[in-house]
Symmetry: C2
Subunit: 314 residues, 2 copies
Amino acid sequence: MNPTAIGIDFGGTTVKFGVVEGAEIIARAPALTTKDYRDHEILLQAIRETVAELRRANPAVEAIGAGLPGIIDSVNGRVYQLSNVPGWEDVPLTALLEEWTGLPAAIDNDANAMAYAEWLYGAGREATNVVCVTLGTGVGGGLILDRKLYRGSQLGAGEIGQMMIDPDGPKGQYGNNGALEKYVGNFQIAERAQALYRDAGLTKSWEECSPLALETAARSGDRIAEQVWNEVGCAIAITLCNIVWLLNPDRIVVGGGVAKAGEYVFGPIRRVITERTMKVFHQDLTIVPAKLGNDAGIIGSAALALDKKAASSG
Amino acid sequence: MNPTAIGIDFGGTTVKFGVVEGAEIIARAPALTTKDYRDHEILLQAIRETVAELRRANPAVEAIGAGLPGIIDSVNGRVYQLSNVPGWEDVPLTALLEEWTGLPAAIDNDANAMAYAEWLYGAGREATNVVCVTLGTGVGGGLILDRKLYRGSQLGAGEIGQMMIDPDGPKGQYGNNGALEKYVGNFQIAERAQALYRDAGLTKSWEECSPLALETAARSGDRIAEQVWNEVGCAIAITLCNIVWLLNPDRIVVGGGVAKAGEYVFGPIRRVITERTMKVFHQDLTIVPAKLGNDAGIIGSAALALDKKAASSG
């Protein structure tokens, strides 16, 4: 039996748990909905209980890892800020997990955990330099460079959604006007679709402009939905071109809701990268959808925890 | 005595040679001017003779390295294309250097050699993640990530000058319209300065619009020269912001002619990066001019050759 670890995936609204062996989630616990808990102390208590239950049922577990969206200090094991969940200010989560379980623990940025899982077991396998971009409410990213997770000097690397595609574009949260996220976040896509439908004399609800609805619409020949996906693909591709010129990766993995639009979004991405980079940079570059879907966070967190354990014992 | 190596720096017009011990060039040979040689075979012969003379005078030399602008396969030691020098098509330069000298040899992209030298001995010292950008006729770059030279999957990484700052901007050589190089190459700077002077009713020669002349003009209070440098600094900074969001480096080293404009260009660079990135990304980031100047290519090539020797014997 391969080593197993618990992986915890903090999303914007839920916390998910799994026991992971290699690429497989061999057991799960019911997810927690963050808004059901009055404050972060009570949520932490619920996490503690869920972890304890998982361990009772899976006594062979050797480590525990968590991936979180926000400002995460993976070296010192502290959560400085958790996106969309108030109250998480300087929480020493690694120490808490170790104290609760007696197991070695590791925490990391959720995009790093996902990128690591895709590289180890998913769409990034066997590649040397992998750029992972995840499209959802926001746009995140993770980098595997020379076969190692690259975190950057303050552990902040991979903020692909904050890279500017038009420095004179819409106002950015950090002064980074025209950032990619302002064009391809789920909210911005819906807004753009509504505007295009409105120009065509059509009134569409917010739900009819979700990534999933727009994907269905594009497949049924809706030209406006196709146009939205083309614009989204082109916007992503501009940032990816810049990353390709800088890092010369051999794999780009695109995940998240938007990526489900398949060729409607991958077509323009591949076309623009071919048009706007030198041949040697794109001829051996593969651009593929993520494979592990919603499980990537759990699998990657568990893998990072097992790696940390191996590194500290070796 | 520390190990010594010969470093060869191929520029657009000259080939320079030095014997390097650590950060010091302890001996030099006269530079060759590429246009004095009818074809690349004759130039190679002249290089061979210069190297032989340097070795006779410095018998302790243990390795030989070369940095070249163009498409360089550092793994297989081949020069596929040499910028500005015709006839260099698939030249097995590493094998030739080894055959001529009996010493272990290494070749690399000139920007990589410069970045490596600045990191080991210059403005990038002690940093973990260093972005080097070199401004001249073109704009090149080199990356030190997690304390190692990062080359990318096809050894093409670091093409900072090809990154787009305005995808709708001036036509780029590889479809990459609005690439940084189209705004801050020496030629583009001179063109922009001439246009601004013309708008102000002034006729300025090409020489009066060189980086050096514009630096002198700015220092003597010329508002147009100041404006040119401000625009150049802002353009560079947009690309650097994107790199900061992606790689979260702790040091940015700016070299080449443009960098000599000092605060006229570093001021806007630092200001824009502070304005357009999150605090955690810029508060511990230092942005500094290169230190080794024209010697970086020789020193870096020699260091890479000694490293390769150490790695193959270890």
